[in-house]
Amino acid sequence: MRAFLGFVRKETLHLLRDRQTLAILILFPVVQVLIFGFAVRTDVEDIAIAIVDPTPDIATNQLRERVATSDRFHLVEVVPGTQGLELEFRRGTIRQALVLPRDVERKLGRGDSLPVQLLTDGSDPNTGGIMQGYATAILQRWYRDAVPAGGPLRIEAETRMRYNPTLESAYLFVPGLIAFVLTLMSALMTAISITREKETGTMEMLLVSPIRPTAIVAGKVIPYIVLGFIGVVLVLVAARTVFGVPLQGSLLLLLAESGLYILTALALGIVISTRVPNQRAAMIAALAGLMMPTLLLSGFIFPLDSLPWPLQWLSSVVPARWFLTIVRGVMLKGAGLATLWQETLILIGMTMFLLAVGSRKLAIRLE
């Protein structure tokens, strides 16, 4: 036991000695939350739109007014014809164009059909769809007011957004970031610190000492568990104070789950370190191999529900996916263990599995 404590002390000193790395480890999660809380958003605003109006009159002026005063649109220009639109689309100076027919006012008065064309830059299908929806809505509101009373049938949807009423982006990305930063940092740190000993040759010295290999690994990860915990707490404080991200559920549960997840990520790091020869390979495996899947297969940015089934299946081996459900559940929905026990069990299972694989592969001898 004393030998083990001494070993933990050595690892802690290693970590504390390198001030630069320590600063990075502690500061960056917070910086990330700040940047992304402010900058990563999915709402669409300020759409650059052009209106093609060959014969301006009162009715089209009203429409123009509506578009210009809307927060969602930025009316770039009103032109008489469609020539030149294509070039502007290609340049990206406009992203939508509303092409009105001639004599709108007269057509409305006489009850003629009103052919309106709405062109949208659909290269990004998601944003394209949202833009089209906004423009259609504004056009229909204008139309409803412009035609005489009566109007067509309407089903009015009253929508309520549960758990994130204003669709605040920070609410979404903060839980995701906690999962993301924890995964990569913990896995990367463990993988590197173990392979480093291999590469510099000090692993051999450790292995000939009376400490057991499992104790060596345990000693290596303990300082990082503490560090990961500090990171979680800092991120939570930043999320709370700066963005007012709610914590509906129990703080204790959230911390306990974070602790569990740190273990999962560390175990992942151990597994990586047993399979690669040097730090370079460890880094590529931990970063290039983990970054994109954690970003894309966890539900962090893209919804998982719509994935084809092989990917749904694949995403269930990504630990971040389960942790993300837990963090969102506790923070936004106030869920307790009663609803989250499945996810928790899965994480526990994954951790045990990874630890088992890692310790079995752990080289007692180097070659």
């Binding site: 990563v40 064309q117 009566g150 940015i301």
Partner: protein
């Protein structure tokens, strides 16, 4: 020149000797592109829906049928009342709840309008917004349909009206089939090439420093510029190969459009890679251990990627963040790739960002050359 060539050769030997790394460098991007291109989509399908239908009339059943008819919604549960609905949302059994109140049909027939309530789980905000727009679109089209089929009943309560019908034709340019892959694959290629390139270069010099071989290089008559060039060229070539693999997969597997000039794409890639790899080398000269270099590279990649418009549109970011994003090389390259491949833009559109990248590349390389010291502190 010869000196640089030898260094380039040495780097190649060192990389290709290490089988694990070679495998990782080329396979990770390929595999990830193949898999992740399918995952990066906001296209919401089969949203699990719970329906509380208190009206139970032909019109309300028709509404549920229309919702189920599309591929966006799947009604998994019917409830007679609101009891238990909250728990279904909390437990993620359903994502959306549609509540049709009593007298829905009657209201529609009598007043021409009737409310329904839609409750969405918005813990994944972007999704909730999209689900909402799908639902509204379906409701609208159902209302239009009823407008034609219900008038027999309405005629009595309504005077004869002659309203100009709004004939709205919407067209989406550049991606009419709404294929999200066409939008994401060019960008994913960029991100995978960037991650590998930045990691490899960031780790390279500091590794020689850690192992002690840097001193051996330092005592050779090689100049600083030759040294940096010798370190840059091998990774530049490797990254271009990865990039080409990506393009090939994009074309053959995902059928992404290539409307613009491929030459322009390669010009942009060549310039862009100098910026990224130069940044990596600069990181490698300012850090002291591989671990440090990795963390700096990691956080740089993360910020670059998430603020590049790759996943979430740059236009949605606040003004200050858009300004900051101007300094992000990934943002420009992603923009160039999408503009040229998807929209078929030419040099007149992407010329400026390419020149910008070139300037940045020269700056970054100069920085790396200056920061690299041949003497030991």
């Amino acid at each position: 020149m010869r000196t640089t060539f030898f260094l380039v050769r040495k780097e190649f030997l060192q990389i290709f000797r290490d089988r694990t790394t070679v495998f990782q460098i080329f396979m990770i991007p390929v595999i990830q592109l193949l898999i992740l291109a399918n995952a990066a989509t906001f296209d919401v399908k089969r949203v699990r829906m719970l329906v509380v239908d208190e009206d139970r009339t032909t019109v309300s059943t028709g509404l549920v049928e229309r919702l189920e008819g599309g591929r966006q919604f799947r009604v998994v549960r019917y409830e007679p009342s609101d009891v238990g609905v909250d728990y279904a949302l909390l437990d993620r059994q359903v994502t959306a709840v549609l509540h049709i109140p009593r007298r829905f049909e009657e209201d529609l027939v009598r007043r021409g309008r009737a409310p329904v309530q839609l409750v969405l789980n918005s813990e994944e905000g972007a999704t909730a917004g999209i689900v909402q727009s799908y639902a509204t679109a379906i409701l609208d089209s159902y209302a239009r349909e009823l407008d034609r089929t219900l008038p027999a009943v309405r005629a009595g309560s309504n005077t004869v009206r002659r309203v100009a019908p709004l004939d709205l034709r919407t067209r989406r340019w550049y991606n009419p089939t709404r294929n999200y892959k066409h939008w994401m694959v060019p960008a994913l290629m960029v991100s995978l090439t960037t991650i590998i390139g930045l990691l490899l270069t960031a780790q390279n010099i500091v590794r020689e420093d850690e192992l002690g071989t840097l001193e051996q290089l330092n005592v050779t008559p090689m100049t600083k510029l030759q040294f940096i060039a010798g370190k840059l060229i091998p990774f530049w070539l490797i990254a271009l190969v990865i990039f080409s693999l990506g393009l090939l997969i994009g074309r053959l597997v995902f059928g992404i459009p290539m409307r613009g000039s491929l030459l322009l794409v390669y010009l942009a890639a060549a310039v862009y890679l100098i910026v990224v790899l130069g940044l990596g080398l600069w990181i490698s000269t300012v850090t002291r251990t591989q671990q440090q270099a990795m963390f700096v590279a990691f956080f740089m990649i993360l910020i670059f990627l998430l603020m590049s418009g790759l996943f979430t549109p740059v236009e949605s970011m606040p003004k200050w963040a858009q300004l900051v994003a101007e300094a992000n090389p990934v943002k420009h390259f992603v923009g160039i790739m999408r503009a040229v491949l998807v929209r078929g833009a030419g040099i007149e559109t992407v010329g400026r960002p390419i020149v910008g990248l070139a300037v940045a590349g020269i700056g970054v390389l100069a920085l790396a050359v200056v920061r690299y010291r041949k003497s030991v502190a």
